[in-house]
Each structure stands twice: as structure tokens, then as C-alpha cells.
Subunit: 339 residues, 2 copies
């Protein structure tokens, strides 16, 4: 892994920022968590059973925390940020339930994926339920402008997922294709989370635009790191299996960069493993050897660092505050996951 | 089939009403159809490919037509009914895409189900796209009260689908369970379609309530008839295979009524076929013989007729108009499909 000392340093200084963000947003997040629990309930027993199985597994709740933080940044939060934050988390969980069906994943958040316990059917339908509840929570705010941001995001996320599906095992996929996919499927929800947070916090147009941009760049950084960890993380900290992207034939940046430079022999190694559901530790090791030769994981992290820096820079024109510094540091924390 | 002569007569007088409804709503439906086409487009090619495959197959577009008709009934339609109508149709189509994955259906609207051509993945994701677009079209109207009606409907529909899934092959399912399932999964969207139509048409509270009730009762009638046709229709006019509900283990009313009265021997015949994916014409014939013995299809139709009458009665207090008569007749047409 070729990382500049400066970059590594920068990542180290961010340690603890996530904990401080957790502390700073706790009152809001307590309300968000209560709303998440309340809105995951239903008189149809199977609904909360499946929904809570996923929700209780935790996850970082990074997106709703960003919504709350963005609202706090502008000092005029009116309470609607709680609805938006819970809605964003529900949209995210709906996407996870549907993604696991699409990807035929076995694991999620460190346990068996919901579809392994209740079948694909329940995952599809409970995902739909969560989407409906997300819209209900947003409609309850009466904020049509924010509703527009999030319903547009829902559409774009689905497009991104379809594009990713269409590019599965497409050896000619480019870095631009990859940017389009993750821009739509991941960065759009981060962007919406921080933008509606800013709106709920009473931001002016410039503030809203700054937070929109911040979320988008952070989302790119986050997904780039995720795609590195899929190859190099540990299953127990990752919450899913290493090498899933390889077996699913996903054209993530480390793979795209490797294919661009691979010799015919290396290309053959990759092609044999890519989209091969039976590819195990041996195949993964061989592919990683090619990745290492061209430092594609390191180059992917470098791109993540660039996006994280841009995220922090998006906040530049905002007045100094503790929350602003925290959000800047959090952008870098996102990347430090990869070290 | 034990139908009273009066009921049969009533059904006959309705002939042609659907054509007249088509004519009466044509200008609005032209705009709805244009919006449906426009909103099914995407720069991600696979999205319109899958969406249009389903949309072009047609279907009756009964729900959006009801939205337009409901708006016209009150004479003050402001154009937003076009958005609501298109949104309702998108929600319906999203449900169909997801249902086909859940039910593992082969056919839909007389052709191979989308999932047979593009896989379950595309059906799940394009369904999500259509849901997102549906919300976008509604948000564009800025009508928060109507948004509330439809987002609540989205949640209830998903709950109904989950309940139906939970009741699969449940031999103790009751008629009340069935009412709960179809009330949620089917009647809720009809109800929302006519209620938001009335709202867009400038209805007062009583008018809105009348149309809400009309749609709900019509939805019940529609689903009851659908569940009869699944056993007794012809695959070519039905657009799907006869006996699907039997093979999928769906606890529809004809089945529930039969199980309540079946002898142990008859029960054995049913249990062997229910949820058996290999149940063919012979098994279906045997089950139908039990249904005939207790007239469960006829009794299901009688319930549909009752709901259709209630639908018409819901409009009673509204001032007389050509559209009001048409909507009353359409309720009965829905049932006459079953003869």
C-alpha cells in the first residue's frame, strides 16, 4: 500500500472525531433512534421482525448523524431534522435489504443477511415498507423542498443500482463508469442527508449548497474506502465476507484500474475469478497479487483522500464552529477506516 | 355458479360503461400516458427497457383512470390529478415488478414476466426506480395532504403484501385474514387513487370521503373477482396462468371457504395441491371440484357484488352527473368480469 506519510498523518489526527460527533449529536440521535424504532413497528409481526433484525444489527447510523449535525451547524433546527434523519436511515436500510436480494449476499452487518432467514420475498417487501415509512416521516414535516431532494435521491439511487447491475462483469467498464455508479448509488444519499439537514437547520442557499457538496464528496470517499475494504478488510470487522465484490462481478475501481494495466496472463487470472461465485481464498489472493502489482487499492484510497479533502473544503466559507471542525475531521475519519 | 338472476341482470346493464369511462377521461388520460412515458425514461438504458416492457404490455390503467374521473367529478380539477394518476400507476407497476419476484411468477399481462427476461435484480431495482419517480411526480404538485394519502398507502400496501406472505399455505387463515390482506394490498391503492383524484378536483371533505369509500369498496370487489379468475379464467385473457394462487399457496377466499367445509378426504386433495409448484391441470381440476361442491367461487363473487354495490352507494349523496353514473356502473363492470 503506497500512502504518503502526510496522508497517513492526516488520518491519525482525526482519531476520536467520530466519538465527538456521536457526543455532539446525541440528543438529536436519541430522538432519531426512538423514531426509527417506532416507525419500524407494524401490526403485521413479520415486518418489525425483519426490519428490527437489520436495524438492531446497528451499522454506524452515519447518514442520520450527518443530517442532525448539518442541522445543528446552522443553529435554527426546528425538529424536522429528526424526521429527515430517520427517513434517510430507513431509505438506507431499504436499499440494504434490496441489495442483498440483488447481490444474493449471505452476510450483512456481521450476521446472516435477512434474506437468508426470511427469504428474498420478505426482504423485498419489508424494504418497500421502510421506503413508504421514510416518505411518511418526510411528508409529516410538510417541507416540500426537502421532500423533493429526497424523492429525487430515491430515483437516482435506484438508477445507480441498475447501472451497477448493467456493468456487472463488464471488462470495459471505465473509472468514469464507476464514478457514475457510486455517485448515484452512494453519494446521492449522503448528499441528500446533509442537504436536508442544512435545510431543516435554517441554512441559507449558500449554506445548503455547501452541505450538499460536503455530503456528496463524503459519499464518494466513503464508497471508495468500502470498495477497498471489500478486498482487504476482515470479515468480522467488515460485517460481510471479503471478496464479495469479486464473486459478484462488481466493477469497482481497484478492479477497473487493474484491468487497465494487467498483462494478458494477469487478465486471465482476474477474468477467471470475476463473477465466479466459487472464487475462494486462493483466487482472491491471486487477484490481490495483481492489484498489489499496480497498487490499485492504494490508488483507490488516494482518490478517497482527495474526495475527503474536497468535503472539508466545501465547508470553508462557513463561519468557524466546533461542529464545522468536527464535520471536517469526520470526512477524514471516513478514509482512515482503510488503514 | 349460484348467482341470482337480479345480480346477473345488473351486471349486464353495465356493459359498455368502461368504454364510456375511457371516452370521458380521454383528454386527462392522454396527459397521464404522456407523463408515464416521460417519467419511465432514464439515461441508464436498462431502466426504460424494463419499465416500458411492463408499461407497454398495457394493463387497463384502471387506477389512473379512476383518479382522473374522480377529479372530473368535482369540476375544479387543477391539473395535479395528472401527476397523481401517473404516480398511482407507477406505484401499481412497481408493486407488480416486486410481486413477480416475490411470487416467482413466469407471466404477467400476457407475456413473460420482466424477471424472466432481465432477472429478479432488475425487477427489484426498476420497481424502486418507479416508486421514486411516483413520489417525485406527487411532490411536484406541492399538495402535502395528497402526498400523505399516497405515502401512507405505500406503507399499507407493503404491510398487506407481507401479511399475505406470512399467511402463505396457512390452513387456518380466515375470511377476516383475507379481508385484511386484500384491504391492505389492493383496496388501499384504489382508495388512494380516487381520494387524491377528488382532492385534486376540489372536492369538499364529504366528497373526498365519498370517493375514498368508493375506491376502497371497488378495490375489494376488484380483488375478489381477480381471485376467482385465478381459478377460473383463461390464461390468454387473464394475462397469467390459471392456478397460480393454488401453486403459490395463496390463501384467497375461494380456498378459505372450501377448507372450512371440506371433508377430511377433500381437505387432503387441497393440501396436496396447495403451494405445490408442480400442481398441474389434474390437481387444479380436483381442487375446483371441491370448490364447486361448496360453491366457493360463486360465494366469492357474491361478496364482490356486495362491495360493488357499496361502492355505488358511496356516491349517493353527490349531485347527479354523467360521471357519477359512469363510476357507479364501472363498479359493477368490475364484477361482471367474473361471468
Amino acid at each position: 500500500m503506497a500512502l504518503s506519510a502526510a496522508a497517513a498523518n492526516e488520518a491519525m489526527t482525526s482519531a476520536g472525531a467520530l466519538d465527538r460527533l456521536l457526543d455532539a449529536t446525541r440528543p438529536g440521535m436519541d430522538r432519531v433512534n426512538a423514531m426509527i424504532l417506532a416507525k419500524a413497528s407494524s401490526h403485521v409481526d413479520l415486518v418489525p421482525e425483519v426490519a428490527r433484525y437489520l436495524i438492531d444489527a446497528g451499522g454506524k447510523r452515519l447518514r442520520p448523524m450527518l443530517t442532525i449535525a448539518a442541522a445543528m451547524l446552522f443553529g435554527k433546527a426546528n425538529g424536522s431534522e429528526v424526521n429527515f434523519a430517520a427517513a434517510v436511515e430507513f431509505m438506507h436500510n431499504a436499499t440494504l435489504l434490496h441489495d442483498d436480494v440483488v447481490d444474493e449476499s449471505d452476510m450483512r452487518r456481521g450476521r446472516a443477511a435477512a434474506r437468508m432467514k426470511w427469504g428474498n420475498q420478505a426482504s423485498v417487501l419489508v424494504g418497500d415498507f421502510l421506503l413508504g415509512q421514510a416518505f411518511m416521516m418526510m411528508v409529516d414535516t410538510g417541507n416540500v423542498a426537502a421532500l423533493k431532494v429526497i424523492s429525487q435521491a430515491a430515483t437516482i439511487i435506484a438508477e445507480g443500482e441498475v447501472l451497477q447491475l448493467a456493468k456487472t462483469r463488464d471488462l470495459s467498464a471505465s473509472a468514469a463508469d464507476y464514478d457514475e455508479v457510486i455517485g448515484a448509488k452512494t453519494a446521492t444519499l449522503f448528499e441528500a442527508a446533509t442537504e436536508v439537514g442544512a435545510m431543516a437547520g435554517g441554512a441559507d442557499a449558500a449554506g445548503r449548497e455547501a452541505l450538499r457538496h460536503y455530503g456528496r464528496e463524503l459519499g464518494f470517499a466513503f464508497q471508495l474506502v468500502d470498495d477497498v475494504l471489500d478486498y482487504r478488510g476482515e470479515a468480522d470487522t467488515l460485517g460481510k465476507n471479503t471478496g464479495d465484490d469479486l464473486r459478484e462481478g462488481k466493477m469497482t475501481l481497484p478492479m477497473i484500474l487493474a484491468l487497465q494495466e494487467a498483462t494478458p496472463a494477469e487478465r486471465e487470472i482476474i477474468v477467471a475469478a470475476l463473477g465466479n461465485v466459487d472464487a475462494g481464498a486462493a483466487e482472491l489472493r491471486q487477484v490481490l497479487a495483481v492489484f498489489d502489482r499496480y497498487d490499485t487499492l492504494g490508488r483507490t484510497i488516494e482518490r478517497a483522500i482527495t474526495h475527503a479533502r474536497r468535503a472539508r473544503e466545501s465547508l470553508k466559507q462557513l463561519p468557524p464552529s466546533e461542529m464545522k471542525s468536527l464535520l471536517g475531521e469526520v470526512a477524514e475519519i471516513t478514509v482512515s477506516r482503510a488503514y
